[in-house]
C-alpha cells in the first residue's frame, strides 16, 4: 500500500476514535460515580472459619432453633426475621422474658461484608457476634455450657456437628462458627440500582437518578453511606438525641465517637422501618428530615453533618433513589429442626 494511502487511513481511524470519545460525553454517559458502588464478585472468605455446606446447613438449623435460648422460645430468627428483611420491625429488640433491649435490631442482610459488628462495633468477627446475643442474659440468656448440654441432648445435632466440625467437640465456638457460616449466605440479590450500575440506563427512574446525584452531592449521604452496601462500616454521631454513648464506650478517648453508631447498610432499606440505632424514626421521610435539619449539634457531631435545606422535590428524589436499593430476594428456607 502506498505510504500516502496509509496516512489517510490513519487520519480516518483517528477521526473515528475522536468521534467515539465525543459521543461518550453525551447525556447517555454513565454517571461517573456509579463505579464506586459496584458489587463485589464474591462473598469474603474467612480463613479461620471457611464456609462449607455442612456448616451452613447446621448454622441454618441453629439460627431458627428457639431451643438455643434459655426460655426455649427465642431463636436468632426471632429478632432477625427473614420475613422482615432480617430485622423485627420494632423500634428496639425484645429479649429474654420480654425484656426491652436498648437498641434497634440491625439486619443481617449482607452481614458477611460488614465487620465489625453490633451498633457499637464491639465484636470484631461474625463468630464473636453470634456468641453475644446467645449468651447475653438480656437477650437469649443461654450460658455457653448450657447451650452445649442442650445440643448434646439432641442426637440429630450431634450428628450434624460431627459432619460440620470433624474431630472437634461441640462448643460455643463451633455453635457460633456454624451460625456465622449460615449468616454469610444471607446476601441480597441484584436490585434495580445494580442493574443501573451495570449499564442499564432504563433500570431506574429519572427521579432516582437525580436522587443518586443528591446522595453523592448536596445531601452528602455518601460521605458515610459509601460502597455497594452503602456503608463505610464506620462510626458516626449523626445527632440523635439520647444518652447512649455508642462507640465511645468501646473505644474511649475520641470525642467524635461519643454517641456514634455504626453506619447501617441501605440495602433493602425501605423494608426495614423503623430506623436509627434506637428505632426512633418511623419512616425514611423522617430520616431525610433528620439529616436535613433535625439533628442536635454537639462537639461529637460528625463533621459531615450540616443543614441541607433540601426542597420537597429533592427529598422525593432521594426516596426514589433509596427505593432502587431493594432487591427481590429468594424466600428464606426454614429448616426442619433435628430431634
Amino acid at each position: 500500500m502506498p505510504g500516502r494511502d496509509r496516512s489517510w487511513i490513519c487520519v480516518a481511524l483517528f477521526l473515528c476514535g475522536a468521534l467515539s470519545i465525543a459521543s461518550a460525553g453525551t447525556s447517555d454517559e454513565p454517571h461517573p460515580l456509579l463505579a464506586d458502588f459496584r458489587r463485589p464478585a464474591a462473598v469474603p472468605v474467612i480463613k479461620t472459619n471457611p464456609t462449607t455446606p455442612e456448616k451452613v446447613a447446621l448454622g441454618q438449623m441453629l439460627f431458627f432453633d428457639p431451643r438455643l435460648s434459655g426460655s426455649g422460645i427465642i431463636a436468632c430468627a426471632t429478632c432477625h426475621n427473614p420475613a422482615l428483611a432480617w430485622s423485627d420491625a420494632l423500634p428496639k429488640g425484645i429479649g429474654h422474658m420480654g425484656n426491652r433491649l436498648r437498641r434497634h435490631t440491625p439486619t443481617i442482610l449482607n452481614v458477611a461484608y460488614g465487620e465489625p459488628y453490633f451498633w457499637d462495633g464491639r465484636a470484631a468477627t461474625l463468630e464473636d457476634q453470634a456468641k453475644g446475643p446467645l449468651t447475653s442474659e438480656a437477650e437469649m440468656n443461654m450460658p455457653a455450657e448450657v447451650a452445649v448440654k442442650r445440643i448434646l441432648s439432641i442426637p440429630g445435632y450431634v450428628t450434624a456437628f460431627a459432619y460440620a466440625f470433624p474431630g472437634k467437640p461441640v462448643s460455643v465456638d463451633t455453635i457460633a462458627a456454624a451460625i456465622a457460616s449460615y449468616e454469610r449466605t444471607v446476601v441480597s440479590n441484584s436490585a434495580p440500582f445494580d442493574k443501573w450500575v451495570a449499564g442499564d440506563e432504563g433500570a431506574v427512574s429519572a427521579s432516582a437518578k437525580r436522587g443518586f446525584s443528591l446522595f453523592n452531592g448536596k445531601a452528602n449521604c455518601a460521605a458515610c453511606h459509601s460502597g455497594w452496601r452503602m456503608t463505610d462500616d464506620g462510626f458516626h454521631d449523626i445527632g440523635i438525641t439520647g444518652t447512649d454513648r455508642g462507640r465511645a464506650a468501646i473505644a474511649p478517648g475520641i470525642v467524635q465517637l461519643e454517641y456514634a453508631f455504626k453506619t447501617p447498610t441501605l440495602r433493602n432499606i425501605n423494608q426495614r422501618a423503623p430506623y436509627m440505632h434506637d428505632g426512633s424514626l418511623a419512616t425514611l421521610s423522617a430520616v431525610i428530615d433528620h439529616y436535613d435539619s433535625g439533628f442536635v449539634s454537639r462537639p461529637s457531631l460528625d463533621t459531615q453533618m450540616h443543614q441541607l435545606s433540601l426542597t420537597p422535590d429533592e427529598k422525593a428524589d432521594l426516596l426514589a433513589f433509596l427505593d432502587t436499593l431493594t432487591s427481590v430476594d429468594s424466600p428464606a428456607v426454614v429448616p426442619q429442626l433435628p430431634q
Binding site: A124, S226, G253, V255, Q256
Partner: protein
C-alpha cells in the same frame, strides 16, 4: 594499553570501598527519612510496613471523610484524635517491635508496622 601496577589496583580497590561505603551511608540516611502512608478509599495505602527504629511515618488523609490514627503495641497506646481530610499525622516509632495501626472511626482500616 599500559600495564596496571599493584599500587593502582590497591588505589582502585580503596576508591571502590569508599564508593560502596558512601552508597551504604546514603542508603542508611534514606532509610531513616520519614515514610508516607496515605488513607484513601477507607484503606491505608499499604497493609504492612517495615521501618527502622526511630523512623517517622507520616499518615496523610487523602479521603473526603475524617479519620483517626490509633497505634497499639509494645506498651504503646497512641490515639491521634480526629484527622480531618487533607491533614497529616506523624508517628515516630522509637522502639523495635510490632505495632497495629487502625482508624477508630473506620476499624476496617488496619496496618501492621514492624520496627527493626
Amino acid at each position: 594499553m599500559n600495564p596496571v601496577t599493584l599500587s593502582e589496583i590497591v588505589m582502585n580497590r580503596a576508591s571502590l570501598l569508599c564508593l560502596v561505603t558512601a552508597v551504604l551511608l546514603a542508603g542508611a540516611v534514606r532509610a531513616a527519612a520519614p515514610l508516607t502512608v496515605t488513607q484513601k478509599g477507607l484503606q491505608f495505602s499499604v497493609a504492612d510496613l517495615s521501618v527502622s527504629k526511630g523512623q517517622i511515618v507520616v499518615f496523610v488523609n487523602d479521603d473526603r471523610t475524617a479519620h483517626n490514627i490509633t497505634v497499639t503495641g509494645e506498651g504503646l497506646a497512641l490515639n491521634g484524635g480526629l484527622q480531618q481530610p487533607g491533614a497529616e499525622f506523624k508517628v515516630p516509632f522509637a522502639k523495635p517491635g510490632t505495632y497495629q495501626v487502625s482508624c477508630g472511626i473506620h476499624p476496617k482500616m488496619k496496618l501492621s508496622v514492624t520496627v527493626k
